[in-house]
Symmetry: C2
Subunit: 387 residues, 2 copies
């Protein structure tokens, strides 16, 4: 099976409000990714667009907007995929599949979301459409409420995690300072993240504002190619695994993140690698409690001991496994459909040695975990530079 490689990318700066339209963001990211890959639009055989929408945009049916990049893209197959907050990775993995199927030699993958055009109260309502609405649709506080409940349950089972969550938030904010693509570039410090204050109020359960990723506008794009394509750079997929779990939280042990755990296990097996082989990981810190539980699910620490990974410095820059050197969703922003593509771009930059101030030294193997809902859609990619 042809696994496909990443040969170029582009990442718009994620911001609170992008003055461009969603269409302009899609076109800008895609155009520059082609340019970076050194691939002409006529060479593209398929386009995948990751876009959540769910009320954020009045324009549905967005896949063909990407054809606006260049007249040579007219008549190419273009498909939108969606798996909530893992929508971007869904697009990447479907693109890989087009190559593996022999249907495409070059694929353009774009993830985009514009969340700023709806009133703030609609943001929470739109995001809550990614919960199991029949049971979870009235949880107060939007999706923060879902993870607030998860945090409460975690605290009940394993004890108070205030320090660990503050440390995760502080780490990601500190990392984000070095990432020019990040929406928030301020080293808030652990003290600020720990304390409830006027500027850092409680949002849902024990989660404070600093425990939540911000609402963002953003787009990112990458070009996938068959492994034998001539390219100036090539980041290979040692593994690409998707695992979906039940949508209703009531049908699962919600603290186990079983889908995440299985996706990591399968991906490491597919890659023939151990977690300790990874140089870095970009993981889905939509909320700090998610990153904490993901430490456990990826196998870094046993269940209930996620705090150790951060408090012992393992996941800090310079630690044994830097997690979210980009600043993560926390600092970078989380424009839903763009996030998974962004993770792949930022990991590719690390392996390419072009991550600038947030570069992990000698990065050779990068893990990515992108999650839709509360560990419902789970995507793990393991990337390695081959050229």
């Amino acid at each position: 099976m042809e696994k496909g490689v990443i040969i170029g990318w582009h990442h718009l700066p994620f911001v609170k409000e992008d003055a461009r339209s969603l269409e302009e963001m899609i076109v800008a990211a895609g155009t520059q990714a082609l340019d970076h890959a050194g691939v002409g639009p006529e060479e593209i055989d398929a386009v995948y667009l990751g876009h959540f929408n769910a009320g954020f945009s009045t324009q549905d049916f967005p896949a063909s907007l990407a054809l606006g990049i260049d007249p040579a893209l007219r008549f190419k197959p273009a498909t939108r995929v969606e798996n909530a907050c893992a929508t971007g990775s869904a697009a990447v993995h479907q693109g890989l599949q087009a190559i593996a199927a022999g249907k495409a030699r070059h694929v353009l993958v774009i993830g985009a979301e514009q969340m700023s055009r709806v009133p703030p109260k609609e943001v929470g309502a739109n995001l809550l459409k990614a919960s199991y609405v029949a049971e979870e649709g009235s949880i107060p506080g939007g999706f923060a409420g879902v993870f607030g409940r998860i945090a409460e349950l975690y605290f009940q089972r394993y004890g108070d995690q205030t320090e660990a969550l503050a440390a995760i938030a502080a780490k990601n904010h500190k990392n984000g300072v070095a990432n020019p693509l990040a929406q928030m570039r301020k080293d808030l410090g652990r003290d600020f993240c720990r304390a409830v204050s006027e500027k850092n109020p409680l949002v849902a359960g024990p989660l404070k504002r600093t425990d939540c990723s911000p609402v963002s506008d953003g787009a990112a794009a990458l070009v996938l190619a068959a492994g034998d394509v001539a390219a100036t750079r090539a980041i290979a997929f040692r593994a690409a695994v998707q695992v979906n779990d039940y949508l209703p939280m009531s049908k699962r042990d919600i603290l186990a993140f079983d889908g995440c755990r299985l996706a990591w296990r399968k991906a490491l097996a597919e890659a023939g690698a151990a977690l300790s082989d990874l140089s870095l990981t970009e993981t889905h810190d939509c909320f700090t409690i998610a990153e904490l539980i993901e430490y456990e699910a990826m196998g870094l620490v046993p269940a209930g001991q996620g705090a150790r990974a951060i408090l012992d410095g393992v996941t800090e820059m310079g630690g044994k496994l830097p997690v979210n050197p980009s600043g993560g969703l926390k600092a970078k922003g989380h424009p839903i459909g763009a996030t998974g593509v962004s993770m792949h771009v930022l990991a590719a930059m690390q392996l390419d040695g072009t991550a600038g101030d947030f570069q992990v030294k000698d990065a050779e193997l990068a893990g990515i975990f992108n999650m839709g809902g509360s560990a419902v859609a789970n995507y793990v990619s393991i990337l390695e530079r081959v050229k």
Copy 2:
């Protein structure tokens, strides 16, 4: 490349209002498709859900709902795809790609939409989100307005088509009487369809109510398998082609249906077949004017002469190429995300010889054209029974 075959299916009756929830419809269609295929849920390697939504359902992120079919589906990859009214075919074609990529031996494909749960005026607004909103979003009459404008332009260029459109509507309604899965089962007759009346008012431009497919609730599902899988029946894809055109109508000759034309040309070449080899076609008659132009784009008649195909009886049951023996979207209903899957199921039934009262005699090769927007997303499949 492994092309994949259809080995089982199920089609809920399309209705104006299904009392079940969207989730229940997805589970019902999927469960019965597995049963029909004789495949256990544990054998399924991937799930694709075709669902448009765009405001029709408060539940977004629906892919994992399909895992509710059986606990053995837990942890399988499940992905939603969308390409407006061609969403169902997008799911079918992505499923084929999973097989071609060697990622799956069995794929469950489900298309579902529930349009009845929103107030009537929201129906039009939701559908119009599949137009190019920046330019076309204020066209009066929802999506009927888009095709009303296309009909007006066609009439201006090629003359009045009232008779031909009435004949298409009458044909499809007559065919639908024989299809127990169709929403409307009444032989309205050409006279009723031709005349503007209280029961058949003008809706948009020259289009009357009988020129428009009805708003529906529905779901359909099928099981795809690798060609070497043991199965009691197997309907093969001689071709599966996707062509996307620009979203804005202003960038195209909207009467040319260029994307449809190209998709048919490529598909026939891939199948190594001529149009005259087809025993039947299920085509996208969201509006009668669409079916008329599709006659031209598929190559049945020259541009501007679509009327001949219907008025000469070519596309009637018993004609040279029966088009929409199922009754088409016109009689069958058009639950957006389900339609493309429905077309594949109904064509498969024809080839399987199990289409009952709407059976085309000795059907050997079936064509399918499913369209998103105004010839923006264009999918052609050519099916043949191999077992």
